[in-house]
Symmetry: C2
Subunit: 244 residues, 2 copies
Amino acid sequence: MPQEDRITVHWLNFSRAQRILWLLDELNLSYDLKVYERTKEYRAPKELEQVHPLGKSPVVEITKPDGEVIQLAESGWIVQYLIDNYDTEGKLKPATIQDSNKVNYFLHYSEGTFQPLLVGLLVNQMATKVPPFPANWIAGAVVKGINAKYYGPELEKNLKYLNGIAAAQHSNGSKYLVGNKLSGADIILSFPIVSIFTTGRGLRPSVVDEFPELHKYYQNLSQEKSLKNANEKIAQYERNPLKL
Amino acid sequence: MPQEDRITVHWLNFSRAQRILWLLDELNLSYDLKVYERTKEYRAPKELEQVHPLGKSPVVEITKPDGEVIQLAESGWIVQYLIDNYDTEGKLKPATIQDSNKVNYFLHYSEGTFQPLLVGLLVNQMATKVPPFPANWIAGAVVKGINAKYYGPELEKNLKYLNGIAAAQHSNGSKYLVGNKLSGADIILSFPIVSIFTTGRGLRPSVVDEFPELHKYYQNLSQEKSLKNANEKIAQYERNPLKL
């Protein structure tokens, strides 16, 4: 059946928005991509505020054949909505009600618990590099203290938790987070998990050795065809990784 | 119909968990309350890790008549699950599909965008009061810088956004966030919005004057009967507000 709804993705480079492109590819949906580039301060540009008052990305706009426009924001909700409404073949649909409950939990967990820790670390990391801080080494010491007291232990706890889930899944012969198939849980958690293994936000280089099952999960994830397609699509806008 | 499922709420004092008690009262559900008290460092006690590996609150456990136990974590998901499964009279059910989409968005927005800003501010506030920071006044200056650069402007943007939504709703004659009735959106956002007006996390005393529609919304919210019931229930565990 030809796709009746028109889909537009407002997409910010180096952002959580890339996983929405993965999902759209997975669901065989075509879409228009509107690209926004980060400012020198690594913030979203003002133009995004014309799309949504909070100026965040991603925002997905769906135009129905009758002209109705549905605007979606918040990645967890976007993933939920797109799967509920467009996964007509049940490709990503969990096999049981128990699995469905788990996926819904992860859609909230990813953005409500795990990702905020990474944002907190990123904000602190930027704090040591951007004026008007009194002196970089002092800012560094304070930030290190905050990380050691809160963000570090919390991140550690979450990585252990996810590593344990990956271990249990691997021993059941599954390379996915829930059941035996790809789901919204893998897609929503891909961004923070990829961040852990590709940026300094794992907090230490030994993260690969300390969380081997999560690393194996990440390696399997990287082989997903639609994720690769999405990455190829966005490579042109992210050729030079931002160094922070 | 008598309630067949047994519900247990693992509840931490001074936490987001209080709104789940509101929702349970709203849905006329009875439940067992297990109380956990914060440590001197304002953290959750270790016992909570025996309930859920992340040691967070709230966690809701539902025991079905056949013995199956469903464990729910993440407040947005808990609210969604309880309403989907126990709002048999449609008391909180949105009137239209558009309103339902809005409520689902807010369930993600509250915990994925708004609440993390308040947590970030709380973590920074604690940083200036707890060793091992180099010196409190220096930590204070750095933290003030981080707040001024990131958390302050982001919080401002979100308060304007919510104030605008409240204004539009008030001018439509509604005292709720979505449509003309109480919904999961009001319940999930009650905790961060109450925090804004009752703790220093609004960042300045003028928050009442600057966001009058949001304040009016908050005042109306405070009059909700089931919220009052929940507050009375927990008053015994929160008699002495923690000063931070």
